[in-house]
């Protein structure tokens, strides 16, 4: 059974239709990439799933329960936790305390929460920064903090909104490793990403949005052959390069 089942979600802002009857599923234990050009409605869809927006119509089923219209904290408590595209550090709190807030979701005990926070700090390589106020981190650091904080809540489904944007290529590599490790540990991931070399090699499935409409939902190597996706988003050059790399075994 799918862990997340998005059914005909439509989100309208007045006359503007940001999401138009979008449906897809996220299988338990998989990595699903959500891509599309700017303004395609990816973040809006994220907001609809995580309760920050209430969809105009359609429904979202998570872990067998209808979560449409629940509040963000209720959805987070059920195990679907997100990061923000525009990073939102709790600025005056230290990096460690930021992560600790996440860790307190599953336990009120200090010892357990501190241990969980330390673990997530380590996974995201933030040890050297943990005593700093979160507001002082570089953009890459803040992105990693978003990940660590969400991870600390012990989610079933982790939803990452462009965590690799603005990262150096080394940082991207580290993030990809982290994401693979998370999947190993049993977390299902849904990832909005523009950094194709980050997401394409690791995703089990890609969902492509354009103009609020889902134009494709398929495995990455089939997505790159999809004419409509190439036209809307990838561009012919990228598709060729990706195929060449794939055949040459350069990615992985």
């Amino acid at each position: 059974m799918a862990l997340l089942d998005v059914r005909d979600v439509t989100m309208k802002f007045g006359e503007l239709v940001a999401n138009d009857r979008v449906s897809f599923t996220v299988e338990s234990g998989s990595i699903v990439g959500l891509i599309g050009p700017n303004g395609a409605g990816k973040t809006t869809l994220f907001n609809c799933i995580t309760g920050f927006l209430k969809p105009t119509s359609g429904s979202v089923i998570f872990d067998g329960a209808d979560i449409t219209g629940l509040t963000p904290y209720q959805i987070a408590r059920m195990g679907a936790v997100r990061t923000f595209q525009v990073v939102r550090p709790l600025k005056e709190m230290t990096v460690f305390d930021n992560v600790l807030v996440g860790a307190f979701l599953k336990t009120s005990g200090n010892r357990e929460a501190f241990a969980r926070a330390a673990e997530c700090i380590e996974i995201c390589s933030l040890e050297s920064l943990q005593e700093k106020p979160a507001g002082e981190l570089s953009i890459g650091g803040k992105k990693r903090l978003e990940l660590a904080r969400a991870l600390a809540t012990r989610p079933k489904l982790l939803m990452l909104d462009e965590v690799m944007a603005g990262m150096t290529s080394t940082e991207v590599k580290v993030s990809v490793e982290v994401i693979l490790r998370l999947r190993e540990s049993g977390i299902t991931l849904m990832i909005v990403e523009h950094v194709m070399e980050g997401i394409m090699p690791i995703a089990d499935k890609m969902v492509v949005l354009d103009g609020g409409v889902k134009i494709a939902e398929d495995a990455p190597d089939r997505i790159i052959n999809d004419e409509s996706v190439i036209e809307a988003y990838l561009g012919a050059k990228y598709a060729q390069r990706f195929k060449a790399q794939k055949e040459g075994g350069l990615i992985g």
Binding site: T71, R88, R149, A150
Partner: protein, 340 residues
């Protein structure tokens, strides 16, 4: 290493508390009941500011409505003694619980507003309570309540000969409220309050029910504030609306905390230790000018702090500490270079 540092801090606090406990025995203080009076007020206002600090500092919801809770606590004790002729204790208990309940009822709609709008709404609430209590005969109306002469002691929470009894009550109040905040700082609820202050949506995305956190923080803050109000009226032996339930009183909660450093454990004490002596001694010195000198100084100090160091006095102290550390390390560097 972290544990060691903590112990050092604890020892510092313990030493400070012992010092406070011995203060009434100091000749300078014992000989002059006015000094004692100032010491009591410092402890009381530090406690009030700390109670406010829970919702206003840690949780980031600036309330100008705290004189309402202070007043409810004061009227609770006052009416138990004056209207019903008993001991203040049942009145204190009812006042504290009522303040928490009223805090939840009036905050719930106000929390739908954010930032400045929340603060403005709390202004209006003080005015509503102020006007109502002024014309409400059951609570003494505009005349207020004057305490009768009763036997002194802990049972009636009243002393006439010396202020020592009041001093120790104030000290217990202070330790209780600082203890509560100290405990909160290190536990889940304290982290949640700060998370709500720093970013409500972020907190929600991590499973924090921000409305519940704010309401609980407000209820706790109001209950502790009411306790302070009860002590105040027992010390003052009179309660009337303009004194306890007014914007003037509300402002003091905010000013002391902001001056000292809001959202910090020491801030409220620092603020009270500076503002209260200023208020009391200037009143004693220049009271003949018609009052208000202390308020002028208050105002100037606040302007200075807000412009120079929005983190309050604690921020200034931290800055100085950093500068000293820098100089020390710089001096070390010089001597290393200087010696051939």
């Amino acid at each position: 290493m972290q544990r060691k540092a903590l112990n050092k801090k604890d020892a510092l606090w313990l030493g400070f508390v012992v010092l406070l406990a011995l203060l009434p025995l100091a000749p300078v203080v014992a000989a002059n009941s006015f000094h004692m009076h100032v010491a009591i007020l410092i402890l009381l206002f530090a406690s009030m500011a700390q109670a406010w600090n829970i919702i206003g500092g840690y949780c980031g919801q600036v309330s100008f409505g705290h004189s309402v809770f202070f007043g409810i606590g004061a009227y609770g004790a006052g009416m138990a003694v004056v209207t019903y002729g008993g001991t203040p204790w049942p009145g204190i208990l009812i006042g504290v619980m009522l303040a928490a309940a009223i805090a939840v009822v009036i905050s719930y709609p106000c929390f739908k507003l954010s930032g400045h709008y929340f603060a403005i709404a709390t202004f209006a609430i003080v005015e509503i309570f102020h006007r109502t209590f002024l014309v409400w005969d059951w609570v003494g109306g505009a005349l207020g309540l004057d305490y009768p002469l009763v036997k002194e002691g802990l049972k009636n929470l009243m002393w006439y000969d010396t202020k020592t009894g009041y001093y120790y009550c104030a000290l217990i109040l202070f330790l209780l409220i600082f203890g509560v905040v100290r405990w909160l700082e290190g536990h889940r609820f304290g982290y949640y309050m700060r998370a709500v202050r720093e970013g409500q949506e972020t907190a929600e995305s991590l499973g924090v029910n921000s409305t519940a956190v704010k309401l609980a923080a407000m209820a706790l803050s109001a209950a502790l504030t009411a306790l302070c109000g009860a002590f105040f009226v027992q010390y003052n032996l009179r309660v009337d609306t303009p004194m306890v339930m007014s914007l003037d009183m509300s402002m003091k909660f905010v000013l002391i905390t902001v001056l000292g450093g809001s959202g910090t454990l020491v801030g409220p004490l620092l603020g009270a230790a500076v503002l209260i002596p200023l208020q009391e001694y200037s009143r004693a010195l220049w009271g003949g000018l018609g009052g208000g000198v202390d308020l002028i100084i208050f105002g100037l100090l606040i302007i200075l702090i807000v412009v120079k160091q929005p983190a309050g006095m604690i921020g200034i102290i931290r800055d100085i500490g950093k500068r000293v550390l820098k100089q020390k390390s710089a001096a070390k560097g010089d001597s290393a270079d200087g010696t051939p």
